[in-house]
Symmetry: C2
Subunit: 187 residues, 2 copies
DNA sequence: ATTGTAATTTACCTACCGTTAAATAAAAAT
DNA sequence: ATTTTTATTTAACGGTAGGTAAATTACAAT
């Protein structure tokens, strides 16, 4: 089916893996091209804006993936809130433990949040956390008042992000797993 | 009193500010030297191992600062656990909200945690979180069983680190402040 | 004053960075 | 078959990265 050897989505997946495990600045265009099995000049064909443009599309793809494959469970009105949280936890655990490099959104936040000038893709990271916050708050709102639900969602996200941080530092997924557990118990 | 224009500690403070707000890889030796008011070659006089060596000493200094100026409150047996947590919260709030760039330990974790080869200073970051965890667990252990105390300490740290992350992303300290509040209520 | 040592700068090196232009190869259209 | 368009590579550019060697300046000891 692929007439040409590369399609844009494959490039994005490979580039994402590099960015996630090495970070934005430590990932060179040469690294990214090598991981994609392509000469680095070719990356400018699909992403004329260069490295920043590529990262922007990578984060957009990640955001889309999370919305379609993970956050959807939060909006599934057929299931109980408890079931939704369990589904969310299971999916998040799979994604963040299977893959090396933790959460590219969290990594990117701490790496570039207050660079001057701020890269354009900071907006993508914000949009991701906006959505994650909204979907968790929606689930908690099934039982709790909107404000409390929102606070619980924020708490869960902070706990989870901190858990991913310690998981990476100590190479021990239990921090992250515990955060997911607490999110479920918070309902 | 300073016979020469630079002493090592001043260099470390200035370098720390750069590393904290720009991150490790985005901080060039030229940036660091400029912030220190020194030619970049001079940095190799005090830190022969170069950038990595400098970062290592910066993180060591930060670790020492936190131990002596913040974590001490946790071990102050003269005060009640509630008072100690209040003191810790107040100090942490001051440090992380006043300064730009959030927590250099958290930033560094997510930026370099799984670089290959891992920089030597990853060990310093681990030591910092070890100590922070131990001191919080010590306070919680005044009322709770050791295991539960440790879990509460982990939870607090994760919540706080996630709070610092969102604080930086949204430029809103309330995430972080809420985490400190929850830490106090967890006792 | 002279010498010795510690601190700091000047000048430079190589390697690699992100990026661009032009050439080539592959596929589609006619 | 020929042409046109799309995909991909080759080759190179200027800039800057981290780092080094040597020269110079500032202080200390005598």
């Amino acid at each position: 089916m692929p007439a040409y050897k590369t399609d844009k989505d494959t490039l994005l997946v490979r580039a994402m893996q590099v960015f996630r495990s090495q970070g934005y600045h430590a990932s060179s265009m040469a690294d990214l091209a090598a991981a994609c099995g392509v000469q680095k000049a070719h990356l400018y064909y699909y992403f004329p804006g260069g490295k920043e443009d590529l990262m922007n599309h990578v984060l957009e793809a990640v955001h889309t993936y999370f919305k379609e494959r993970i956050m959807v469970y939060a909006w599934d009105e057929e299931r109980s809130p408890e079931e939704r949280l369990a589904q969310l936890s299971a999916q998040l655990y799979k994604v963040f433990v299977r893959n090396q490099g933790g959460c590219i959104m969290g990594n990117t936040t701490l790496e570039v949040a207050h660079l001057d000038p701020a890269p354009v893709f900071v907006a993508r990271v914000k949009a991701y956390f906006d959505d994650m916050l909204a979907c968790l708050a929606h689930v908690f709102a099934q039982r709790h008042a909107p404000e409390l639900a929102r606070t619980k969602a924020q708490t869960a996200i902070q706990d989870i992000q901190g858990g991913i941080m310690l998981m990476q530092l100590y190479n021990d997924p239990s921090f992250f797993a515990a955060a997911l557990q607490r999110m479920q118990e918070a309902y």
